[in-house]
C-alpha cells in the first residue's frame, strides 16, 4: 500500500515540475521583456516605464542567472506560492480556491451520475452476453464514445434548454445549472464503463465459483449480489483510473462550453489572455486533481481485492 502511495506522490512532484518548467520557459519565451511587460501592466505605460521595469527586474530577480531563477521558481511552486494573476492582480491561490470548489462539485456529480448509469447497464448486458440489452448497450456505447464532449454538450443544450426549456443552458449557482454539464461528462464516462462492466460481469458469470453458488441453490439475487458484484467491480474500479483522464479533460471542455466558473474555464481563459501565473496555477491544480483521483482509485482497488494486499 505504501508503495503506490509513494508512486502517486512522485507523480504529483512530476506534475509540479512539468507545469512549472513549461510555464517558466513560457514566461521567458513570450516576445518582449518580461519585466517591461509586467511593469506596463501594473503601472501603465508612461514616461518612467524604464525605471519601473528596472525595479521590477530587481524585485522579480530577473537579472540573476537562469538556473537560480528556475530553482526559485520551482521552490515557489512547491511552497504553493503561485504569484498574482496578470489580469485581475489578485493572488492566484485565492482565485483557485473559489474555482476548485465549483470544479470538484462538477467532477463529483459527473462521476456519480456515470456510476448510476454505466455499471448498471453493464451488469444487465453482462449477465446475458449477446442478448437484446447487450447489443443495444453496445450500439449506444459505440455512438456515445464517437461524439466529442463538446458536441454532446451542445446537443444536450439544444434539446433540453432550447427545445424543451427544462434546464438553463449556462450559469452557476443551483443544481439545475450543474445538471447539463454533469450529464454531458457522465454519458461519455458511462459509455466506457458500461462496456468494461459488461466484460467483467460476463467473465465472472462464467467462473466456476459463480456456477457453484447457483448449484448450491442460492437465489439469483444472492448469487449476483454476494458472489458477482464485488469480483466484477475490480476491473471497473481500476478502469476509473483511466477515466480520470477523460474526466479532467472533459471538465476543461464542458466548463468552457457551459460558462461554468471552474478551474477548466479559468485555464482556457488564462491561455487566451496569456496570463501565465494563472495558466500555471490552473494547470497545476488540474494535474494534481488527476493524481488525486488516481490515488483514490488505487486505494479502492486495494480495498476491493485482497490479492493485491497479499502481494504487496
Amino acid at each position: 500500500m505504501r508503495n503506490f502511495l509513494v508512486a502517486r506522490l512522485l507523480q504529483a512532484g512530476l506534475v509540479a515540475t512539468v507545469v512549472g518548467a513549461l510555464c517558466f520557459v513560457l514566461m521567458r519565451v513570450l516576445p518582449g521583456d518580461a519585466a517591461m511587460r509586467i511593469a506596463a501592466g501594473r503601472y501603465g505605460p508612461d514616461a518612467r516605464i524604464a525605471e519601473a521595469a528596472e525595479k521590477m527586474r530587481l524585485e522579480l530577480g530577473l537579472d540573476r542567472p537562469l538556473t537560480a531563477q528556475f530553482l526559485e521558481w520551482i521552490g515557489d511552486v512547491l511552497r504553493l506560492d503561485l504569484g498574482h494573476s496578470l489580469v485581475t492582480g489578485s493572488p492566484v491561490v485565492h482565485e483557485l480556491k473559489v474555482q476548485l470548489g465549483a470544479s470538484m462539485w462538477l467532477a463529483a456529480s459527473a462521476l456519480a451520475l456515470s456510476l448510476l448509469v454505466g455499471p448498471v447497464i453493464g451488469l444487465f448486458s453482462g449477465l446475458k452476453p449477446g442478448g437484446a440489452i447487450d447489443r443495444l448497450a453496445l450500439a449506444g456505447a459505440v455512438i456515445f464514445r464517437a461524439i466529442p464532449p463538446f458536441v454532446l454538450g451542445l446537443i444536450l443544450m439544444l434539446v433540453f434548454s432550447k427545445q424543451l426549456g427544462w434546464l438553463p443552458p449556462a450559469g452557476f449557482g443551483s443544481p439545475r445549472e450543474m445538471l447539463l454539464p454533469a450529464l454531458t461528462l457522465a454519458l461519455g464516462l458511462a459509455a466506457m464503463s458500461s462496456r468494461i462492466t459488461r466484460n467483467s460481469v460476463a467473465a465472472v458469470a462464467k467462473a466456476p465459483y459463480f456456477a457453484f453458488a447457483r448449484y448450491k441453490g442460492l437465489p439469483e439475487a444472492v448469487v449476483v449480489g454476494r458472489h458477482g458484484l464485488r469480483n466484477a467491480a475490480i476491473p471497473v474500479v481500476s478502469y476509473l483510473g483511466l477515466q480520470a483522464v477523460y474526466l479532467v479533460e472533459g471538465v476543461v471542455v464542458v466548463e468552457s462550453l457551459f460558462a461554468y466558473p471552474g478551474i477548466g474555464h479559468a485555464l482556457v481563459h488564462a491561455v487566451v489572455e496569456r496570463d501565465i501565473p494563472m495558466v500555471q496555477g490552473t494547470a497545476l491544480v488540474m494535474g494534481l486533481m488527476f493524481v488525486v483521483i488516481a490515488a483514490i482509485v488505487d486505494l479502492l482497488t486495494h480495498w476491493l481485492d485482497p490479492r493485491v494486499r497479499r502481494m504487496a
Partner: protein, 274 residues
C-alpha cells in the same frame, strides 16, 4: 485522448467483423470527400456573399451557406481535409518515434530503456489535453503547438505497446534459435517482430487519429485552437450556433461530420468489440 488506452489485443481471426467493415467503408467515403471534395468543388471556402447569408439547403448552394454566405459544402470539404490531414500527420509524428524508440528500448534495455521510461512517465503525469493547452499558451491559434503537443502525448502509447510486445517476442525460444542459426538483427526484426506488432500499431494509429480529430475540433470550439477564418469543423459549429433558430441543420452538419469521422476510425480500430 482517453480512448487510446482502452483496447484489447485479442484480434478476431479470419473474416473482418461487420463493425470493422462498416468503419472502413465509412472512412473510404469520408476520405474521398476530404481528398477529392476540395478539388471538385469550385467554391472558395472563404468567399463571402452576404446576399446568400444562411441560404437554405438545396438552393444555389448544395448544402446551404453560413451567416457570411460562405458555401457550407466547400467549408465542410476543406474542414474534413484539414481534420483528416492534421490527424494523419499527428499520427505519423507520434507513431514513427514511438515505434522506433520502443524497438530501441526493447533491444538495448539498460540505460536506454530507463531514460525512455522516464520520458514516458513525465509525459503521462499530466492528462494529454493539459499538455496541449500549456503548449498552446505559447502561440494560440497556430498549427505548430497543436501538432507538437498532440504528437508529444500520443507517442507514448506507441512506445509502450511496441516495447512490451517486442520484449516478449525477443524472449521466446524461436528468436534464440534464429540467432544461433546466424540470422542478423535485421532479419529477425522484419520476419519475427514486425508481423506481430504491425496489427497493434494499425489499431493504435486509428485510435490516435480519432483522438487527434476530437482534440483539434474541441480546442477550436473552445477558441484556443485554430482561429475562425480557417474552415475547421469545431469552430464552424460554434460560429453557426447563434443562428441555430434559423438554420438548425447548418449547425448539425459539421457536428455530424466529426462524429462520423471518429466513429469510422473507432470502428476500424476495434470492430465489434466493446
Amino acid at each position: 485522448m482517453s480512448s487510446i488506452g482502452d483496447l484489447s489485443f485479442a484480434r478476431p481471426k479470419g473474416r473482418l467483423p461487420a463493425g470493422r467493415m462498416f468503419g472502413a467503408g465509412l472512412l473510404v467515403l469520408l476520405g474521398c470527400f476530404a481528398i477529392i471534395g476540395p478539388m471538385l468543388i469550385p467554391a472558395d471556402p472563404a468567399a463571402q456573399d452576404f446576399s446568400a447569408s444562411l441560404a437554405p439547403i438545396g438552393g444555389d448552394f448544395l448544402l446551404g451557406a453560413d451567416h457570411y454566405g460562405r458555401s457550407l459544402l466547400a467549408r465542410l470539404a476543406h474542414g474534413a481535409r484539414l481534420s483528416f490531414g492534421l490527424a494523419f500527420l499527428t499520427m505519423l509524428a507520434a507513431a514513427l518515434p514511438g515505434v522506433l524508440l520502443g524497438l530501441a528500448a526493447a533491444w538495448r534495455g539498460g540505460w536506454t530503456e530507463r531514460f525512455l521510461e522516464l520520458s514516458a512517465t513525465i509525459v503521462l503525469a499530466l492528462p494529454g489535453l493539459m499538455l496541449v493547452l500549456l503548449l498552446l499558451a505559447f502561440a494560440p491559434g497556430n498549427y505548430a503547438p497543436l501538432f507538437l503537443g498532440l504528437s508529444l502525448t500520443l507517442w507514448v502509447e506507441f512506445y509502450r505497446v511496441t516495447k512490451a510486445t517486442t520484449k516478449s517476442v525477443l524472449a521466446q525460444p524461436h528468436i534464440e534459435a534464429a540467432r544461433m542459426l546466424g540470422f542478423g538483427s535485421c532479419y529477425i526484426l522484419v520476419n519475427y517482430i514486425l508481423p506481430v506488432i504491425a496489427p497493434m500499431i494499425a489499431t493504435l494509429s486509428a485510435f490516435a487519429m480519432a483522438t487527434a480529430i476530437i482534440a483539434v475540433s474541441t480546442l477550436s470550439a473552445i477558441s484556443v485552437g485554430l482561429q475562425p477564418p480557417t474552415p475547421e469543423l469545431g469552430s464552424m459549429i460554434v460560429e453557426l450556433l447563434p443562428y441555430y433558430a434559423e438554420a438548425p441543420v447548418h449547425v448539425l452538419l459539421p457536428a455530424m461530420l466529426i462524429v462520423l469521422l471518429v466513429l469510422g476510425l473507432q470502428l476500424l480500430a476495434q470492430g465489434d468489440h466493446g
